[in-house]
């Protein structure tokens, strides 16, 4: 029976695949936990930082006595966005469901909307680099094979570069496109403008009655250290969000794959048993009819 042997071979191969997907799922679960821990501990800092910067910047904007220095300008007076630096964050490896497809779709839409010629691109992850190549974009910065300990270096490099470019009038804004980590099974592709900052109007109005902040030692030196720190924190958070999302997405994809493999094995086993029974029945009939004759 050739069919019988074939099915057995297929079951064995599906079982092997299932073992691989199960192992990948477990590895992703461990990596997810690590990324998530780091992300969850950074988030309160990042959101506090955001709050403080919003408040201070909102107050300064309403205060004609303070003359903001060059670093503060980036936040206070948005220029027309003629040149944009865009950081696209995807993963190095695939097998993680719609993780890369979603974020790259958002990136494609963004580039199409703004025009490829004004976008100065940085890509994080091999998938993003491949995407850029396919669309004929020439990334200025490629960050491939970066694991969590390397994030800080990427962040520092991009921030310093973007800062210098902003002051040299080469770019007018810095955007990041990444997967926001909602939960282990849900990620949202997000387009985030790091600077100029999008001020939350509530902050300006809520505290409008309060007296302006004293800035010590003086407004510009505070802003000039606070704002770059803010940009770095946000960028680091975005990378961590993406990393946690990636492992979450891969874990979910591999879990689904393992389940599908299980279903397939069950189906194949059923077919195999049916075939075997059919062949036994056939043989019995043959023997019985032979004895009768």
């Amino acid at each position: 029976m050739a069919g019988f042997q074939d099915i057995r071979r297929r079951i064995r191969s599906v079982k092997n695949t299932q073992q691989v997907t199960k192992a990948m799922k477990m590895i992703s679960a461990v990596k997810l936990r690590k990324s998530q821990e780091r992300l969850v501990s950074l988030r309160p800092y990042a959101s506090k930082m955001m709050e403080v910067v919003q408040r201070v910047v909102g107050r300064i904007q309403g205060d004609s006595e303070i003359q903001p220095g060059p670093a503060a300008q980036a936040f206070l007076s948005p220029r027309e966005e003629k040149r944009i630096r865009l950081v696209v964050v995807a993963s190095d490896k695939g097998l993680c469901g719609g993780f890369n497809a979603n974020v790259l779709k958002a990136a494609s839409a963004f580039v199409a909307e703004r025009g490829a010629e004004i976008v100065h691109l940085d890509v994080v992850g091999k998938r993003a680099a491949e995407w850029a190549k396919k669309h004929g974009l020439n990334p200025a910065g490629e960050y491939l094979g970066i694991a969590m300990p390397g994030f800080q270096r990427v962040v520092t490099e991009i921030c310093q570069g973007a800062n210098a470019q902003y002051h040299a009038d080469e770019i007018d804004a810095l955007y990041v496109i990444y997967n926001y980590f909602n939960s282990a099974v849900a990620q949202t592709p997000t387009v985030f403008r790091v600077f100029p900052m999008e001020l939350d109007p509530r902050n300006a109005s809520r505290e409008a009655t309060e007296v302006s902040h004293l800035l010590e030692p003086d407004p510009n030196s505070v802003l000039e250290t606070l704002l770059p720190r803010f940009v770095e924190t946000e960028l680091l958070r975005n990378l961590l969000e993406s990393s946690a999302s990636e492992h979450g997405a891969r874990m979910a994809a591999m879990d689904k794959a393992s389940n599908n493999a299980g279903e397939m094995i069950a189906k194949l086993t059923l077919t195999m048993n049916k075939l075997r029974q059919a062949s036994i029945t056939n043989q019995i009939i043959e023997i019985v009819s032979g004895a009768n004759a």
Partner: protein
């Protein structure tokens, strides 16, 4: 006017402290210490390396802070520290060992850069030891 201040200390590593306190004092990089009582005028300042204390239930408590920013409002103090620890988090033995190592490095330092790095290390360990040595801290 509320009689307490909400003190929050967060670092990129973890939220360190969050509670209502009666008084806070934190070190700045260049202007000594700021003592904050409820109803303080809004203020934004850099934070230096050193000891922060707050008073809660009539008791003084200490935290270490290493660089960052402080934002003060009438009823809140938010410290965005580069690093910060409560007294319980300080490992006394490690701080002592780090102090000895820094002293050693300071002796061996060849360049100004090495010297500055060793000095910074020494300062950090001294701050930790001092925090742990305060009444209310462990070890003394």
């Amino acid at each position: 006017m509320s009689q307490t201040i909400k003190l929050e200390v967060v670092t990129p590593e973890r939220p360190v402290f969050s509670s209502d306190v009666a008084e806070v004092q934190f070190p700045t990089a260049s202007r000594g210490y700021y003592g904050i009582l409820p109803g303080h005028t809004p203020l934004m300042s850099e934070v230096g390396d050193g000891l922060l204390y707050y008073i809660q239930d009539g008791q003084k408590h200490w935290l270490t802070v290493f660089g960052g920013f402080a934002e003060v409002g009438p009823d809140r103090v938010t410290i965005l520290a580069r690093e910060s620890e409560t007294v319980d988090m300080i490992d006394l033995e490690r701080a002592e060992a780090s102090k000895q190592r820094a002293l050693q490095l300071l002796k061996e330092a060849q360049t100004e850069h090495d010297m500055a790095a060793a000095q910074a290390k020494l300062d950090a360990s001294l701050i930790r030891l001092q925090a742990a040595g305060h009444p209310g801290g462990h070890g003394f």
